[in-house]
Amino acid sequence: MARYVVATTGDIPVGTNKVVTVRGREIAVFNVKGAFYAFLNKCPHEGARLCHGAVVGLVRSDEPGTFEYTRQGEILRCPWHGWEFDIRTGQSWVDPENTWVKNYPASIERGGKLVEGPYKAEVFPVSVEEDYVVLEV
């Protein structure tokens, strides 16, 4: 598994995503409240591009007629059929045992460290003074 620098942290504001291509894979990188999560940009159901999905919260209920709405910004609805995925894990909410999106570890690294380390920066130019999103693919 190699590490790839794919964006500066500033490229992906909170609540948005950026699509990058790494080793032929199209990957969507999401910024959820300052943390970055990356997964294959392809719904496991019918292949829709997940980068176009709505980012919402998770609604649950213990009692008919009540709505407990939490985790705003952490759930992605597929743009085609509305299936909900947990952006943090890639797991489907409606079919958690059988359906998930392939995800990739994402981290934030200082540019200075990246220039020294064993990172593949070819997909993205790195300068010493910025923070970068690094994927393991």
């Binding site: 919402v56 609604v59 649950r60 209920s61 213990d62 009692e63 008919p64 007629g65 009540t66 709505f67 407990e68 059929h81 509305g82 299936w83 909900e84 909410w93 409606v94 079919d95």
Partner: protein
């Protein structure tokens, strides 16, 4: 092995109120005078006119013309000839369809008292459904409370189409009382004809009306799921009676598919609708809406993904089959045993095998 060797539990036979006169001893003074003075002689349902051929198999129709009114005949047909060990009788009658909910309450009370005295007391293999004035949930709960101590009443009877969708909170007190007493809710084919029996408006023909029953059942199931009634009462079992069976797999598939997209709207439905159906919903066998072929039945059961869903029923005296072809020949012994006996025992806490 013949299915008759297993001594089946028949989950749907019909006892018929021949005329209001038989209920007079079971009405209090006010209501006895009311029905007498107003000449309320007959409250047969439009769904099953007593003289219609479908209402009774010719060889089961007594000389009086009113099938399901004679205990000796019922004994012979259901217990001796069809071999049931227990049979649950459903009275589908106009009291359930009246707008006058106080009159409905009085008549339902009388029907249940008449069933207990004239049928259950005389035939120990009979069980009955509680007929309730569901137009008024408080009245219905009162009637459930009155009948529940008599454990020969094994479920509560509603109709597939009436005032409003069955998932609505109006009906929840009925479900609460039923669940508390270990009584499944039976939803029987038929309509109170408050609304058109198709979502398009009134059909012209009996054929359309009959076929539309299946979509009525589907809409009721969806209502019970989406409004949260089945989630609210997870111990409640719902038995669809005379619903047909083969529409269920396609319904389960469609309900799951759309739920996945729109789960946000009903977050209390916290698992796929098909899973709720498998846990809480049962269907009676007759009238069976597929070729009487064991392979077809087994395929449908495989698609439902549960062999606990279907309950044996003859629908006596309605004319749904000839001779004794109640269930398709050639079912595996295990499956036959489940359908004939075990599924009913698992569905009805008040039933105990008599064989």
């Amino acid at each position: 092995m013949s299915w008759r060797d297993v001594k089946p539990i028949d989950c749907d036979i019909h006892v018929v109120v021949p005329h209001t006169g038989v209920l007079l001893p079971y009405l209090d003074d006010y209501w006895r005078d009311y029905v007498t003075v107003r000449g309320v002689r007959n409250l047969d349902m439009t769904s099953y006119p007593p003289t219609a051929p479908l209402t009774s198999r010719p060889d089961w129709r007594p000389a009086t013309g009113h099938a399901g009114t004679d205990l000796a005949l019922l004994r012979r047909h259901v217990f001796d000839e069809l071999g049931a060990q227990i049979a649950i009788c459903n009275v589908v009658w106009g009291a359930q369809a009246l707008h006058h909910h106080h009159l409905a309450a009085a008549l339902c009370r009388a029907v249940n008292a008449w069933v207990a005295a004239e049928w259950l007391d005389r035939e120990p293999r009979l069980r009955a459904s509680i007929v309730v004035p569901w137009q008024n949930a408080a009245h219905a709960v009162e009637e459930i409370e009155r009948c529940a101590p008599d454990r020969r009443f094994v479920q509560v009877l509603l109709l597939a189409m009436a005032d409003q969708p069955l998932g609505r909170e109006h009906y929840w007190p009925i479900y609460e009382a039923a669940a508390r007493h270990g009584l499944p809710i039976a939803i029987h084919a038929g309509s109170a004809y408050r609304h058109a029996t198709t979502s398009l408006g009134w059909p012209s023909t009996l054929l359309e009306d009959y076929v539309a029953q299946a979509s009525g059942f589907q809409n009721q199931l969806m209502s019970l799921i989406c409004e949260g009634a089945l989630s609210k009462f997870p111990d409640l079992k719902v038995v669809l009676v005379e619903s047909g069976v083969t529409w269920l797999p396609a319904f389960m598939w469609r309900a799951n598919k759309i739920w996945r997209a729109m789960r946000m709207e009903t977050p209390w439905v916290d698992r796929p609708p098909a899973a709720i159906v498998r846990d809480q919903v049962r269907l009676t066998l007759q009238p069976f809406d597929a070729p009487p072929d064991a392979a077809v039945v087994e395929r449908v059961i495989e698609q439902i993904d549960s062999d606990r869903t279907i309950l044996f029923a003859t629908d006596y005296p309605h004319w749904q089959f000839d001779e004794d072809e109640v269930i398709p020949a050639g079912l595996s012994a295990d499956l036959a045993r489940r359908v004939l006996v075990d599924n009913a025992l698992a569905t009805y806490p008040r039933l105990e095998s008599l064989s």
